[in-house]
Amino acid sequence: MSAFITLDGVSHAYGGLTTAPAVEGLSIAIEEGEFAAVVGPSGCGKSTLMKLATGLQFPFKGSVKVAGEMVTKPVKIAGMAFQAPTLLPWRTTLENLLLPLEIVEPHRSEMRRRRVEYAARAENLLTSVGLRGQGEKYPWELSGGMQQRTSLCRALIHEPKLLMLDEPFGALDAFTREELWCVIRDLHAARKITICLVTHDLREAVFLADRVFVMSARPGRVLVERKIDLPRPRDLDVTFTPEFQDIVQEMRSHIVRARQ
């Protein structure tokens, strides 16, 4: 059995072969249902890794496989969320959630007939992230944390097999961030979904992930891969235990070396 996401010796340069590559010789394998976290210095190619794995960019060297298939066009099984919530200001929260269903088949052609059902699904999803009854509000009537939750829901509404999160909590305050860690943790536990989280917060990576990958400075490749054995379900209290802090410390030293 091969892994769910496999990048094998991948090199990519945005400006073509003559420019300095963003990632070089990057290999990574993420299992189905796994929660993987990618950390690394800023500009090392973490977002590039996400784009390669979802077929938004294509490497000049190496191969990318997702769910057993070579990636030659945007994969259609992924939900994505970024640091900016990127909600549409002319749509209500609920309508924003329905957007992916208006794009992805088979929902796209059944949108009219099953609209009530879809709206109920969106409503449930909102409830599961603590936004019950907020569906009629416009994004700009929500706080930053609420917008980010909505953005997460939008990434999940079409029940993707793969969730790609690129520094989704980067712009939030510490309390909201930790609340959302728990939201993501519960979503991962409840659905058998593969999650790939890019972050520069080591505590976030260690708290959430089954495995943490540390990337080198540009051109990025994976330097260290660390399994996190902390038992699940993990509570926020775990972040204060010595084991947890030892792992974070270890990660930090890897990063320091990666930056040199």
């Binding site: 784009k51 979802t54 077929g55 938004l56 945007p74 994969v75 259609k76 992924a78 939900g79 994505m80 969320a81 970024f82 900016a84 990127t86 549409l88 200001p89 002319w90 957007l99 992916p100 208006e102 794009i103 992805v104 088949e105 416009y138 700009w140 939008r154 990434a155 079409h158 790609m164």
Partner: protein, 256 residues
């Protein structure tokens, strides 16, 4: 609320003040009417020449609106095309800039050569002068879609047309409706230029005739009629904009 009332009354107050100061200045400094007529003289001209002013205004309004309507259709279409593809954008942009830089006064003789004087060149000048801001605004709205949002949709398998329909066009609407306010005032400029060079009708022509007969208050009455038409049209466009794109106007920036 009192501040609300102040805002509502402000335009009338400022306009009234302008006319009062103008009148006072004319009397105080004994400015001759043939140099700068006072507002009362202009008002008299309005009463005396009401019928021709009304008829010519209506004529100018019609050429302006037809030219403006063409500009809206064509500008919207060209804006979508230009915003659709980077290479079309790169290819057309310098051409449009160059075209926009040509003073439209210089184009009128050519239009007359092709279509004769009167209605057609006025409409076309209004059109030519007013489509540019619409194109630029529509294209800008499309060109500034957040790349992350584009990625979210592409990773769902969205086609370019999907992205255009779901995101591009709705987010362009505020730019589009905003540009209409600019375009309608430019359209007036265009039709009046053409009328004063090559027409027997319209406010531009009326003012030219008044000038030949040295009826200075009538010239100014023509100007005021134009200003009023311009304000009314601008105001209608602003209402349309607010209605269509209320979501884009949340800023409290200028509310003080």
């Amino acid at each position: 609320m009192s501040s609300n009332l102040a805002v509502r009354l402000a335009p009338w107050l400022y306009t009234a003040t302008l006319f009062i100061v103008w009148e006072a200045a004319c009397r105080l400094f004994k400015i001759p009417t043939f140099f700068l007529p006072p507002p009362t003289a202009i008002a008299n001209a309005f009463v005396e020449y009401w019928t021709p002013i009304y008829r010519h205004s209506l004529y100018t309004l019609s050429t302006t609106l037809i030219g403006f309507g063409m500009a809206v259709g064509f500008g919207l279409l060209l804006g979508l095309v230009v915003g659709w593809s980077r290479s079309i954008y790169a290819g057309l942009y310098p051409l449009m800039i160059g075209f926009n830089a040509i003073p439209k006064v210089a184009v009128v003789p050519i239009l007359v050569l092709w279509f004769g004087i009167g209605f057609v060149p006025a409409v076309l000048t209004a059109f030519l002068i007013s489509f540019f801001p619409i194109v630029v605004n529509v294209a800008t709205g499309l060109a500034t879609i957040e790349p992350e949002l584009e990625d979210v949709l592409k990773a769902l398998g969205a086609s370019k047309l999907d992205i255009m329909r779901k995101v591009g066009i709705p987010r362009t609407l505020p730019y589009f409706f905003g540009s209409l306010k600019v375009a309608i005032t430019l359209a007036f400029v265009g039709s009046v230029i053409s009328e004063s060079i090559a027409s027997n009708y319209g406010i531009g022509n009326l003012m030219l005739q008044a000038q030949a007969q040295f009826q200075v208050p009538l010239i100014f009455a023509g100007l005021v009629a134009l200003a009023v038409e311009g304000i009314v049209m601008y105001w209608l466009m602003a209402i349309l904009e607010a209605r269509m794109t209320g979501w884009a106007q949340r800023s409290g920036f200028a509310q003080a």
